[in-house]
């Protein structure tokens, strides 16, 4: 159009300038947007490095091999009992929470128009708001006392599983929402039943997001102290294999109790435990991600 030798009519020139101004404004806004987003990420990264840095600096003194070989004794020692206990409790929690949580999430996503699905979703959101200390006390009265289990892995795992359930349920549901409906329709068209469609198609598509949800829930539950104080108790010794009537150690207890001791060795051990707790979740997270990558 502008190949003619004549200059463009006045209206067109104005329009093109206006377009250019508009375009520049949009580009400027986009640049501002990206800067803000980058800034947000930088803020989070900065905060995380600050926290980790503080824990590392203060815990490095106690970080040596004895942490992994000795149990917590007196005002120092190692963290073997706490590590073992944390792993056992985490395993128990996941075994209980993942099947029920994912099942709930699938149901809420696949049959979301039903009254039951709406009930599950609503109550899951409310459950997230229950303080962990309340869950701990609930577990204490019902399992530790009424059922006579005393301090035990069973009570601790069940309590933490209840803590995790709503997170896993909702994140699974949100993950499944993003599955394109065409995928499901194709599956049904090929004659697959609802179970097949869900597991082979929808869940496979949503698996990364579901795993993120499970890992988030694991992180939140492993980092808890209050509910474990009243259900797992604490033990200075290794787990004797009993599911009930046998208190176990856990890393967050060391963080909470040893930071308040007047002995420097205890304080350093507390920071070492903080480092290990974070590392534990990171390791599980990494392993899960690598497994997923390999599958793809």
């Amino acid at each position: 159009m502008s190949t003619s030798a004549l200059p463009a009519p006045h209206g067109v020139t104005l329009q093109r300038s206006a377009n250019r101004i508009l375009q520049r404004r949009r580009e400027w806004l986009a640049a501002a947007g990206w800067t803000l987003c980058a800034g947000s990420l930088a803020l989070l990264g900065g905060a995380m490095l600050w926290i980790l840095g503080m824990v590392l600096v203060r815990g490095i003194g106690a970080l040596n091999l004895t942490i992994f070989t000795e149990v917590t004794q007196g005002t120092g020692g190692g963290l073997l009992n706490a590590i073992e206990g944390t792993v056992a409790i985490a395993a128990g929690t996941l075994i209980l929470a993942v099947p029920f949580g994912i099942a709930a999430g699938i149901y809420v996503s696949e049959y979301r128009w039903t009254r039951w699905a709406q009930t599950i979703r609503f109550l899951a959101d409310v459950l997230v708001g229950v303080p962990s200390i309340v869950l701990g006390y609930f577990g204490y009265i019902t399992m530790v006392e009424w059922l006579g289990w005393h301090f035990s892995i069973a009570a601790a795992s069940i309590t933490l599983a209840v803590l995790c359930l709503p997170y896993i349920c909702r994140t699974t549901e949100m993950a499944l929402r993003e599955v394109p409906p065409e995928l499901r329709e194709a599956g049904y068209a090929l004659g697959a039943g609802p179970a097949r469609v869900t597991f082979s198609l929808s869940m496979r598509y949503a698996l990364p997001a579901v795993v993120t949800g499970v890992l988030l829930a694991l992180a939140i539950s492993v980092g808890e102290t209050a509910p474990l104080l009243y259900t797992a108790g604490w033990s200075n010794y290794l787990w004797n294999g009993q599911l009930v009537r046998s208190p176990v150690g856990y890393l967050t207890y060391v963080i909470w109790a040893f930071i308040n001791e007047p002995f420097a060795s205890a304080n350093a051990l507390a920071y070492a435990a903080a480092l290990l707790t974070t590392a534990f979740v990171l390791v599980v997270s990494l392993a899960a991600r690598l497994l997923l990558l390999r599958r793809k």
């Binding site: 949009r26 580009e27 806004l29 990206w34 803000l36 987003c37 980058a38 947000s40 990420l41 803020l43 989070l44 990264g45 995380m48 926290i51 980790l52 503080m54 099942a103 709930a104 699938i106 149901y107 599950i120 109550l123 899951a124 959101d125 409310v126 997230v128 708001g129 229950v130 200390i133 309340v134 006390y137 009265i141 019902t142 209840v162 359930l165 909702r170 949100m174 993003e178 179970a195 869900t198 598509y205 949503a206 997001a209 993120t212 890992l215 988030l216 992180a219 939140i220 980092g223 209050a226 890393l251 963080i255 909470w256 903080a274 707790t277 974070t278 979740v281 990171l282 997270s285 990494l286």
Partner: protein, 319 residues
């Protein structure tokens, strides 16, 4: 058994747990509910009474002399700290999610995403430690005085800037704890949007940012609200970290944004040990009543979110 029925049964553990907890709290705290009445919510005086004195009988109930249970300051503290936490976490979480999903090439994306998830991996008690060892002094010596200078004309932002333990500090620490919930979920959701959506927006001349902001995000509104609801729940129920940075106000309302507060969850944790020493048992039951009120607040927040979501759906249907 049909697949759907099995799912419905397994999934039923979630509502069953919540109902069990509500039932437990209601039954356990009933004597306290009965004795405290409505002044529980509006009362400004929480007093466990003389723990070592002999119980007296008031209105047919055994209580310790001087005991009174009013939690208004707790309700205010909880709602304000959660509100501030959300105010900070939502923009930052959304921004980080957008950046991770769109602007970062797949290589560094893995470990940068870890950065965000690592924030969730940090135990809440470590947040508390970092809060009072690092954040509180920083706020008290530099940030709060600067804020009071610049923003002092806004009511609630002026002097006194206090000791660093307080509402704003709690909000900041809480926001860091809940940001991963928003950022990670949203990042996954943006990632799983089909390329066709992006391509069609680009074909229409949208910049990359506009594609995300105006096309993809609005479609993810319900996911965002879902993540925010989870984040709100987490903030409402957070115990340990708030315990260490909030200043633990007793029977007072914050006059400025820097003033100490108490939240319901942290209060239950700090009072539980002493409440166990009350021979009448009314103290523990009143703590259970606090938990019940918190559950009801949570139900209220969720119901409100439902209504907002329904409003969006309605608008989409009408459009």
């Amino acid at each position: 058994m049909k697949f759907r029925t099995l799912l419905a049964m397994l999934g039923g553990l979630v509502p069953a747990s919540m109902i069990a907890i509500l039932a437990f709290l209601a039954i356990y705290s009933w004597p306290a509910i009965d004795y405290n009445g409505i002044s529980f919510l509006g009362g400004m005086q929480w007093n466990l009474g003389s723990l070592y004195a002999n119980p007296i009988t008031v209105a047919g109930v055994d209580i310790l002399p001087g005991a009174s249970y009013g939690i208004f300051f707790l309700i205010v503290g909880t709602l304000l700290s959660t509100f501030i936490a959300l105010l900070l976490a939502v923009p930052i979480g959304v921004g980080a999610a957008i950046f991770l999903a769109e602007a970062v090439p797949p290589g560094p994306r893995l470990w940068l995403s870890f950065l965000v998830e690592l924030l969730a991996a940090i135990p809440s008690v470590v947040y508390g430690l970092w809060g009072y060892a690092a954040v509180v002094p920083l706020m008290a010596h530099y940030v709060f005085p600067a804020m009071a200078d610049v923003l002092g004309w806004i009511p609630g932002f002026g002097q006194p800037t206090g000791s660093g333990f307080g509402l704003l500090t709690s909000g900041i620490v809480l926001s860091l704890m809940i940001v991963p919930l928003i950022a990670a979920t949203l990042r996954d959701a943006i990632d799983s949007q089909p390329a066709a959506v992006r391509e069609s927006a680009a074909a229409l001349g949208a910049t990359r940012f506009e594609t995300v902001w105006r096309v993809i995000l609005p479609g993810l509104r319900s996911i965002l609200i879902g993540a925010c609801v989870l984040a709100t729940g987490r903030a409402l129920g957070e115990t340990m970290a708030v315990l260490m940075v909030s200043g633990n106000a007793l029977n007072t309302l914050p006059q400025t944004i820097y003033a100490p507060i108490s939240t319901m969850a942290a209060f239950i944790a700090s009072q539980l040990d002493s409440a166990l020493q009350d021979p009448t048992g009314l103290a523990v039951r009143s703590l259970a009543e606090i938990a019940l009120v918190l559950c009801i607040i949570s139900i209220g927040v969720n119901a409100a979110a439902r209504v907002i979501l329904a409003g969006f759906d309605q608008r989409r249907r009408n459009a």
